[in-house]
């Protein structure tokens, strides 16, 4: 398999005063070369922890990886040296985070920040750019994201720009490194729909052009449907369902995915379901077995004691639920 990124059985916890938060509980994720993968989950299900584990930017302690591996082109990122990790971040991995105000430094101009990135990633490739080349590449990166008047924007501070423009700058920064894998962590959650539409369209074009792979992390199923080929549904620290985006959203199999799909308000106006009773478990003391079982209406005895593996339900779709044990 020509996998670019493979996460195998990743366990990550956080040690806090009250005990140990067992957040990631055996995450499995595959990203192939040039593929766009969606990761859908609700608040607190471990989406961002997953991204930060891949980039190795989780503060340790309190965080601790207690098992599993993250393979990037066959190389275990978790075992890589700091030096190697910096190299990877410089020209292989890149990320866009939810809040551009937090990922841009408020006391430096956009130009200063963007120039640093362009210069640094060129050095990473063993090239030293002249000042004029750096400038030209920065302007080009901003133009690619559809930013009007890039010359002026370069002299501005983040606070002088609107939310949509800031997010465009983050995209420009992320893509100016020519990275192979883009981790987009809720890139449009704070934005209005019309701006979201513009940003996603631009992101789509640029990724297509550069042939990068994307992991799109979001809680919006609509965004995943528009942008990705494969989708993964995450609940309480593990992937509960994975499959081709369109077939997964048309025919969700896991009770959690079904509940989620029924609660999304739709334009057909048939009303919305009552949602899923209960809430995400406390990670200090997560339920044994399948972590969804306290909220699940189909729960069986086995769910309370053993965590379900991913069962295949045909057409590249896999579900972590004992309801589909026979199908496998």
């Amino acid at each position: 398999m020509d996998g670019l990124l493979a996460i195998r059985d990743l366990h990550v916890g956080f040690r806090i005063f009250e005990g140990k938060l067992r957040v990631l509980n055996g995450v499995q994720l595959d990203v192939r070369e040039g593929e766009r993968v969606g990761l859908i989950g609700e608040t607190g299900c471990g989406k961002t922890t997953t991204v930060k584990s891949i980039l190795r930017v989780l503060p340790m302690p309190p965080a601790r990886v207690s098992g599993g591996e993250i393979l990037y082109r066959g190389e275990d990122i978790l075992k890589a040296s700091r030096r190697r990790m910096q190299e990877l971040r410089r020209h292989e991995l890149t990320a866009i985070f939810q809040d551009p105000l937090q990922s841009l430094n408020p006391v430096f101009t956009i130009g200063t920040q963007l120039r640093d990135i362009v210069k640094d990633s060129a050095i990473g490739r063993g090239k030293r750019l002249s000042r004029r080349d750096v400038e030209a590449q920065c302007i080009q990166a901003l133009q690619e994201t559809g930013m009007p008047d890039p010359g002026r924007i370069m002299t501005n501070y983040p606070a002088q720009l609107s939310g949509g423009m800031r997010q465009r700058i983050c995209i420009a920064e992320a893509l100016s490194t020519n990275a192979r894998l883009l981790l987009a962590d809720e890139p449009t959650t704070n934005l209005d729909v019309t701006i979201q539409d513009q940003i996603l369209r631009k992101l789509d074009e640029l990724v297509e052009e550069k042939g990068a792979s994307v992991v799109m992390i979001t809680h919006s199923m609509g965004v995943v449907r528009d942008l990705t080929q494969r989708a993964n549904i995450m609940y309480a620290g593990s992937i509960v369902e994975t499959g081709m985006t369109h077939s997964l959203l048309e025919a969700p199999k896991h009770p959690y995915t079904q509940g989620l799909m029924a609660s999304v308000p739709k334009l057909t106006g048939e009303g919305i379901s009552d949602g899923i009773p209960g809430r995400i478990p406390n990670y200090l003391d997560p339920p044994p077995g399948c972590r969804f079982h306290p909220r699940c209406e189909h729960r069986m005895e086995i769910c309370e004691s053993e965590a379900p593996p991913l069962f295949s339900v045909g057409d590249a779709q896999h579900v972590a639920c004992y309801l589909y044990r026979e199908a496998a």
Binding site: E42, Q198, L260, A262, S263, V264, T268, G271, G275
Partner: protein, 329 residues
Amino acid sequence: MSDHPILSANHLVKHFPTKAGVVRAVDDISFDIATGETLGLVGESGSGKTTTAQCVLGIYPPTAGEISFDGAPIGVVFSRRNKELKRRIRIVFQDPGSSLNPKRTIKQILSVPLKVHGMGSARERLSMMSELLQLVELPPTEYLYKHPQAIGGGEKQMVAIARALATNPRFVVLDEPTSALDVSVQGKIINLLMRLADELDLTYLFITHDLSLMRNVATRVAIMYLGKLCEIAPTPEFFRAPQHPYTKMLLSSIPVVTSEEEALKPEKIVSQGEIPSPVNIPTGCSFHLRCPVKMPICSKVDPEMQVLSDGHVVRCHLYGNDSSANVLS
């Protein structure tokens, strides 16, 4: 529409003078809300939705224009309104995490409106609070003595709803009540709100930026852009035949989850530009900078509200030929 609007705004204006210039947050809007209906007020951030709601509640007095509730003018600030009016109009805020006092128990939180409005003796109030919690489907014995931080986001919002209902209001402003919540929790809150509207005969002004949600809850939808209303229509008609270019742009930008929905979206209008600053509103129609079908007149003259059919009003030069229809309720 019903003949008897419970709330009507007539040429409502709210300007905020700032150092940078006058912010025209709400600029001459008029609408009626009939008893028992849910008016969905939709717009992007900075379009003046919340300011409109705050004028209704009296948090700000309007700069010009009138608001009337049950036929009586209420365009004064909160401190000068009588208690009866405050009892009748209530609000549920967006983020229950910050609208509930973290140092108080739920019992203390719920008792404030009851005490302020002098409802019942201490003992009666306790049973009223239990009833309120039952109304929002929270078991009173379990929740009465908890603090907000001990319960989930959805439950907090239910407490906020209970607090709003404590004084038997007739009109409730819902200011993005579910946008801070996850979808799996949102469904429960929305269905609860709809059930309560039926049971208690409430009228809602429902503010949101989520059009798919509006499709499922509102009886009429109003679209706001830069302090002005663009289009008001009954919900089914609004989604079947949107008229204003901005409405079409909004509708075609929504990410949807099924192919049936995809078929319901209007033809794709590629969205461009961003909402301009309300300090520096473009001349003429405020939308003309982003409009895909703009005409020379759009940058010069601000269009008037046009009645297209029963209850469907749109403010755009595309529909401005019939001058006899040039009226607004």
